[in-house]
Structure formats: structure tokens, C-alpha cells
């Protein structure tokens, strides 16, 4: 059996989706961890932080070689997950030329399990907006990042915190980000446990454990992400 045969079979394509999906899930946790540094500015912690902790974290992520290299792997992961996802969706849809007059619908499965292609497309559109808001300015154009700040560790860096504040000053941006977080939550609610099943986890004790962790992850991570634009708009942070 060749590698090509493995990865072009229906199970092989799903394995690709599962592996890249779990990789993206691990990335989300790091992304959330770094961004959650903005919450240091909450009056509960240190109202005078003004994004220093977040800017130090962003500076570290931007200037460390290993992380720069992982960024390339990350883009590869996104690319494979998105392309393979669209190809699978198209292929699966083509397997029933004549549909039913009365559909099984929710009698057999959850709507979000059946709508991974739609949720993924919403996330891709959001991702493009998100890159335009933050990734492209921070890597290339430096639009909105003209002012530099001196960090508490003595380093000089872009003020990413100020860029976040400026971006989330508009309601439509906040709403789009919250909708994206809700889509992400449902995408994860199916994807998290499905990835493990695809990779062959069949032990019922571990499946229960993964299901529980999956539900927790799918609620907590998107919720914390959604709180970022909301807290900036409402002035809790910044």
C-alpha cells in the first residue's frame, strides 16, 4: 500500500482533516493564551497595565525564531484543512444525486454536525477579515502601528494593544467577531470529538473523556475570544 493510496482514500482524507484539525485546536489554545494577556488591564488585576503584558507577549511571539517557523507550519495546516475540507464537502455532496422529499434532519444528528462545511466557510471568511485587521498590519504594512511603545522589559515594540482597541471601537467589528466565535464554538463542538474518532479512538471510557473535554473546550475558548472585542468596546479593558 502506497502513501498516496492511504491519503486519497475516504478514510485517509478524514485522517488528514483530523490531524490538521487537532493541530489547529492546539494553535487556538496558544492564540487564546497570548491574547488573554489583555485582561491584565482589568481593574481587578492592574488597571495601569495598559496592554503592557499583551504587548510583551506579542513582541515575544513576533521575534522568536521557533515561533516564526511554526507560523509557516500553521499556514500549511490551515491550507490543507481548508482545501481538503472543501474537496470532501463537494465529494460527499455529489454522492446523492436525487435527494429525499422528507429529510431525516434532526431526527438522526445535530445540525452543526451536518453543517461543518458551512461553519468552516464562515470561519474562512472571518479569517480573511482577521488577517486584514491584525496579521497583515503587524507583518507587512504596519498600518495603525506607527506608534511604538517601550515595554516594561525595556524592549521597543509595535503597540498591538492600541491596534486592537482601535479595531474594536466599531460595533460592526465586535458583532462580526462574536458571530465568528459562535461559529467556531459549533465547529469545535463537532470537530473536537470527531477528530479523535477519525484517528481511531474507540475505547468507550476515553471517548466519554474526550467528549467532556471537547464540550468544555468548545464553550470556554470561543467565549474567552468573544470577550476580548466585547470588553474593549465596553471599556473594561484599555
Amino acid at each position: 500500500m502506497t502513501w498516496k493510496q492511504i491519503f486519497t482514500s475516504s478514510v485517509g482524507k478524514k485522517i488528514t482533516m483530523g490531524v490538521t484539525g487537532l493541530f489547529l485546536i492546539s494553535f487556538l489554545l496558544i492564540h487564546m493564551g497570548v491574547n488573554a494577556c489583555i485582561f491584565k488591564d482589568l481593574s481587578f488585576f492592574d488597571a495601569n497595565d495598559n496592554g503592557d503584558m499583551f504587548n510583551r507577549a506579542a513582541d515575544f511571539m513576533g521575534k522568536t525564531v521557533v515561533i516564526r517557523l511554526m507560523e509557516v507550519v500553521l499556514f500549511l495546516g490551515f491550507f490543507v484543512h481548508i482545501i481538503q475540507g472543501f474537496m470532501l464537502e463537494a465529494s460527499n455532496r455529489s454522492k446523492r444525486k436525487i435527494g429525499y422529499a422528507v429529510n431525516l434532519g434532526d431526527k438522526g444528528s445535530k445540525w452543526y454536525s451536518r453543517s461543518m462545511g458551512l461553519l468552516g466557510t464562515i470561519l474562512l471568511l472571518f479569517l480573511m477579515l482577521h488577517w486584514w485587521h491584525f496579521w497583515i498590519p503587524s507583518r507587512f504594512t504596519h498600518a495603525g502601528l506607527e506608534n511604538e511603545v517601550i515595554l516594561s522589559n525595556g524592549r521597543v515594540s509595535h503597540d498591538m494593544f492600541a491596534l486592537m482597541k482601535a479595531t474594536f471601537s466599531e460595533w460592526w467589528v465586535v458583532i462580526v467577531y462574536v458571530v465568528a466565535c459562535i461559529s467556531l464554538a459549533y465547529h469545535l463542538l463537532h470537530g473536537f470529538q470527531s477528530a479523535f474518532r477519525t484517528l481511531g479512538l474507540s475505547n468507550s471510557r476515553y471517548i466519554s473523556l474526550i467528549n467532556a473535554i471537547g464540550v468544555g473546550y468548545s464553550i470556554i475558548v470561543p467565549l474567552i475570544f468573544a470577550l476580548m472585542p466585547i470588553s474593549m468596546k465596553l471599556g473594561w479593558v484599555g
Binding site: M1, S10, K13, S91, K95, K97, Y100, S109, T198, G200
Partner: protein, 252 residues
């Protein structure tokens, strides 16, 4: 249970043959005993159609006791009708109320082409079994059952999977028309037992290859198959099949 006589309206898919384009037709099934099975109700309707000189509705059936896997109707949006863990032949008319309209469609999947009316060609399943759903043993005299010790839990699990009757409800219910629940039952049934060990790797690889060739879709773990399976085969078997496939792919 209370016995009633009911009248139902049937909206049935009619199609002359595989090349013809079909459509729905309405029928009245009157004076139906609630103790009749769904197929018996069709028998009554067909008797009437024959008397009227019309073409009776073609449907698959054989044992009518829920074990052969021939009956295959998609009733009101669910394979084998509204009851859990039941084949169409074991579905009784007490599941319906007087005056109900019941929509009956054939299984829909490119891999299961319609032959006539409610009959579909499920020989794709036979070819998947031929690709690896067997064990090779030189049969001679029957071996004593105790000669090969098997862990009770595994024997029970293999038996639960052997209960798959290959009716195709999993494919009919799946949004991707995937046959993975069927394959996973067949693969699990054999690979859990020592007799299935010698061909374990080639079985998973060859059966999946045949499934892809037949035009079934990929599994996305939605769980619709498990919800409608008349033998209540668990979706966990699909994870076991994935594991078998991955290990076979990496080590063979």
C-alpha cells in the same frame, strides 16, 4: 393494545425502471388493521391495484421477521419508519394514526440505484463483502467450540456486530451516503475474533478501497447511521475501523 381500523394516505415514489424518471403518486389505504405490518398494508394495497389492472408497487422483502435485511423503505423521512431498532417489516400500522399521510421513498444514494419503485440495487454491499468480509480457513470436520478460547466481552461485541443485516439504512440516513457503519460492523465482527486475525490488515484496506470504488461518501461522524440502524450497531465501530485502517496502512 387497542385494535383499530384506520385509513391512511400514502405518497409513494413510483419509477418504472432505472432509466425512467420517477415521481410521487398518492394512494388511499383504507380499512387497515393496526395489527398489520407496514408491508402487509402494502400487500393489501397491491392486491387492490392488481384487481384494478394497475401496476403494483414494487418493494423488497423476504423474511418479514427483521433478520434478512431486504426491506428498505424511507418512511416519513426515516429509514424503516418511526420506530427505534425496527425494520420496515416489523413496523406495525399502530405507529400511525387515522388520516395520516405517509411518505414512502426508496433509499437514495448513487451507489444504490433505483431498480423499480421502492426497490434499489444493493449489490455494492455484496462486492464490499467479497473484497474482504470473510475469513480463509480450511474447513474439515467441525472443530470443538472450546478448542479456541475467546474472551466473553469480545465474543459478545463481535456478535453484536454480526447482527448487521446489511439493509443499507445507514447509507440511506447518512448525508454523505457513506457505508462506514456497515463496513465497521463487518470489519469489527471479524477482527475482534482470533479467526479474523490473519486477514486483519488486508480486510480493512480492501473493503475501504471497494467502498470508495462503489461511490459511497466519506464518514463525518454525524451519528445519523447509528440513530436509524435497525440492529442498533454503534458508531464506535467506525472509530475501530478507522484504527484498523490506519494501523494497516502504516504497517503493511
Amino acid at each position: 393494545m387497542e385494535h383499530k381500523i384506520i385509513n391512511v394516505k400514502l405518497k409513494v415514489w413510483r419509477q418504472k425502471n432505472g432509466n425512467a424518471s420517477g415521481g410521487f403518486e398518492m394512494y388511499d389505504a383504507n380499512d387497515i388493521s393496526t395489527e398489520m405490518s407496514f408491508l402487509e398494508m402494502f400487500d393489501v394495497l397491491n392486491e387492490r391495484l392488481i384487481k384494478e389492472g394497475k401496476d403494483p408497487i414494487a418493494f423488497d422483502h423476504d423474511c418479514r421477521e427483521g433478520i434478512c435485511g431486504m426491506c428498505s423503505m424511507f418512511i416519513n423521512g426515516r429509514p424503516h419508519g418511526p420506530w427505534q431498532g425496527t425494520t420496515t417489516c416489523q413496523l406495525h400500522m399502530r405507529a400511525f394514526n387515522d388520516g395520516d399521510t405517509v411518505v414512502v421513498e426508496p433509499w437514495r444514494a448513487n451507489a444504490f440505484p433505483v431498480l423499480k419503485d421502492l426497490m434499489v440495487d444493493r449489490s455494492a454491499f455484496d462486492r464490499i463483502i467479497q473484497a474482504g468480509g470473510y475469513i480463509s480457513v480450511n474447513t474439515g470436520n467441525a472443530v470443538d467450540g472450546n478448542a479456541l478460547p475467546i474472551e466473553k466481552d469480545k465474543a459478545d461485541l463481535a456478535f453484536a456486530n454480526a447482527a448487521c443485516i446489511g439493509c443499507g439504512a445507514c447509507v440511506a440516513a447518512c448525508k454523505n451516503s457513506s457505508a462506514m457503519l456497515f463496513l465497521s460492523a463487518k470489519v469489527s465482527h471479524l477482527s475482534l475474533l482470533p479467526q479474523g486475525a490473519p486477514e486483519r490488515k488486508t480486510r480493512a484496506i480492501n473493503m475501504i478501497a471497494q467502498m470508495d470504488k462503489e461511490g459511497f461518501g466519506a464518514c463525518t461522524n454525524t451519528g445519523a447511521c447509528e440513530a436509524v440502524c435497525p440492529k442498533e450497531i454503534s458508531i464506535t465501530n467506525i472509530a475501530r475501523l478507522n484504527q484498523e485502517y490506519l494501523l494497516a496502512g502504516l504497517t503493511s
